[in-house]
């Protein structure tokens, strides 16, 4: 149930037996400094908004899944340097 399998990597958490999730909104953009524990993005599945927090403080280096796109459990969403 952790959001990061490796420090700085943001992945789709295990939400149980859901299919894919859709990225609804990034709450930071690449280059922004993000704080550990701050809301980083919202994903949606099965009429549920799930907020994923930044796993560490740092610079949001890269976003791999755009708003409106789908991802599955454990997919890499972003990297924080």
């Amino acid at each position: 149930m952790t959001n990061a399998s490796c420090e700085g990597e943001v992945r789709v958490p295990d939400l149980g037996e859901v299919g894919s999730v859709t990225v609804v909104e990034w709450l930071a953009k690449p280059g922004d400094t993000v704080e550990s524990g701050a809301a980083l993005l919202e994903v949606e599945t099965e009429k549920t908004t799930f907020v994923i927090d930044a796993p560490r403080t740092g610079r949001l280096a890269r976003v791999f899944v755009k708003e409106g796109e789908k991802a599955r459990r454990d997919d890499l969403l972003a990297r924080i340097d």
Partner: protein, 235 residues
């Protein structure tokens, strides 16, 4: 009954029946209780409420799914709130039971799908007790009687704690639903009062639905006094 993953011990939980209440203060109360649940200072808490007429739009929704102009909506005196739950537009109002569980999903195996299933299952079992066969539809969360929707779900999760929840139509004003495309779809809705001759009141339905939900979530449920946390008409 839907059983969620996790241990078999019962989890202490509190039911706060709010009665009839406007949307805004109830939304604020959910956020306060959510923060307290995240901080671990309160147990799982479930609110039941019958709202004054209101439209709410979820995170993947749009006001475009209002079928009427803003002027018509305002004349009808029905406010719109853009809220953080999943899903599109819906209607709440008199004759509808709304259930807002503030639940730590980590105690439920961290399974969002099973949690939604527990909400739907509580409504399905309740309806079966009244002789109505209702079911899920793949890809369309909520509870359906044939092709008509009788209950909607929409949830928000932060730090594994939920808010928002389930709305079950007992005897709802169809003219209000007609002002929207529910869930952004061209679907028909139905109330229990259209299917049975003696539908329960919202209060009766609240107790029955929560009994089912408590089984699914393994709650040991006690009823609390809402006045400790709640002054709805203060604005």
């Amino acid at each position: 009954m839907t059983c969620l993953r996790g241990s078999t011990e019962r989890i202490a939980a509190r039911h706060l029946p709010l009665g009839r209440a406007p949307y805004g203060p109830t939304w604020r109360l959910q956020k306060e209780l959510h923060a307290r649940r995240v901080a671990g200072t309160i147990p799982d808490t479930v609110l039941t409420v019958e709202h004054d007429p209101v439209f709410t739009v979820g995170r993947s929704g749009s006001r475009r799914n209002l079928r009427v102009s803003e002027a018509v909506r305002e004349r009808a005196g029905i406010p719109v709130f853009e809220v953080e739950r999943g899903g599109d537009i819906t209607y709440h109002g008199p004759g509808q039971l709304v259930v807002y569980p503030i639940v730590d999903l980590r105690e439920q195996g961290g399974d969002v799908h099973a949690f939604i299933g527990a909400l739907e299952g509580a409504a399905i079992d309740f309806l079966a007790d009244h002789g109505v066969e209702a079911d899920r539809r793949a890809g369309f969360p909520g509870v359906w009687v044939g092709t008509r929707k009788i209950a909607s779900v929409g949830v928000y999760v932060r730090r594994w704690v939920t808010r928002h929840g389930l709305a079950l139509n007992l005897a709802v004003d169809r003219s209000h639903f007609a002002m929207i495309r529910p869930c952004g779809l061209d679907i028909d809705v139905v109330s229990l009062s259209e299917l049975v001759s003696d539908p329960p009141t919202v209060d009766e339905a609240a107790s029955a639905v929560l009994e089912r939900l408590a089984d699914a979530l393994r709650w040991r449920l006690s009823v609390g006094d809402p006045s400790e946390v709640w002054r709805p008409r203060d604005g």
